[in-house]
Symmetry: C2
Subunit: 153 residues, 2 copies
Amino acid sequence: MRIEDILKLSSDIPLSKSVIVNLLYTYGLINGELNKVLKPYDVSIQQFNVLRILRGRGDKPASLSTVQDRMINKMSNTTRLVDKLITKQLVKKETNKTNKRKIDISITAGGLNFLKEIDVMIDSKEVEMVNSLTHEEATELIRLLGKLRLIAN
Amino acid sequence: MRIEDILKLSSDIPLSKSVIVNLLYTYGLINGELNKVLKPYDVSIQQFNVLRILRGRGDKPASLSTVQDRMINKMSNTTRLVDKLITKQLVKKETNKTNKRKIDISITAGGLNFLKEIDVMIDSKEVEMVNSLTHEEATELIRLLGKLRLIAN
DNA sequence: CTACAACTGTTGTATATACAAATGTAGGTA
DNA sequence: TACCTACATTTGTATATACAACAGTTGTAG
């Protein structure tokens, strides 16, 4: 269904606005679906994202700024986000030995187990959501989003 | 640049995950750009969106649920959002004459002037952001996002 | 070796998002 | 009429986002 009809916009909005509105609206739906998957586990998408980043580092701990760099949505408060994960004992932190400004953040064994469980759910939800696209369409969508990012920076 | 490189993900993530991550990340950039445009005017994207919806109704006031239906990002707190706009005197509300459960929300003259000023800035930002795509690519992107929405519901 | 600027993270404040519970109103039915 | 259910909005609580101000640490230029 056209976004113009969903949101009851006038039918002759500029193409550029249509692209933007389509993107924002579709994001909302996808984000909502991912949230629904995570809800039962009591983690937000951002918390889940941080856990995956930390797992990806293996034994090497990450500083706060490293985590932030790799987050899908750059948020201004990785401090508080990490603190929530620490409360849940999924993550631990200590000040870096050689640079006291930095902190070493790493995932706990509990965090790894937790992730292993959720990962499957998220992966299958992602497959399900993208299923309406053919392989070629998915590849093309990725290309077009990449092109769109060129000027958005 | 590939999202896998930007976020330093492993290079062999499933296509479905790549689509989702591309979408989420690109959203973040676009959203950030729009925010930057609105910042000097001290309105959020959501507040701006509500103003546009109300203007689109002409003289016909909208109920809270009508506004919510037409918002790009369905948020759970249109009440508080509208209240902020009322504080700024850009919007006014009164209880509906024939159904006391409903409220009639409408944009003020001040709100209209305010919108007129900002609209130009947003429109040109949108054009600028989509400029990296050809007309055909933009159209295709819209089509693909529409297809993606099919299962996301 | 001191002073300063840059770096890294924390804290504060305001708004937005998500969801559930509460409040008040309307309309239908026994 | 009394009651019940659905409806429309409000309120409460927790988390996320955005951004600015603050604080401690480090490296380096003079």
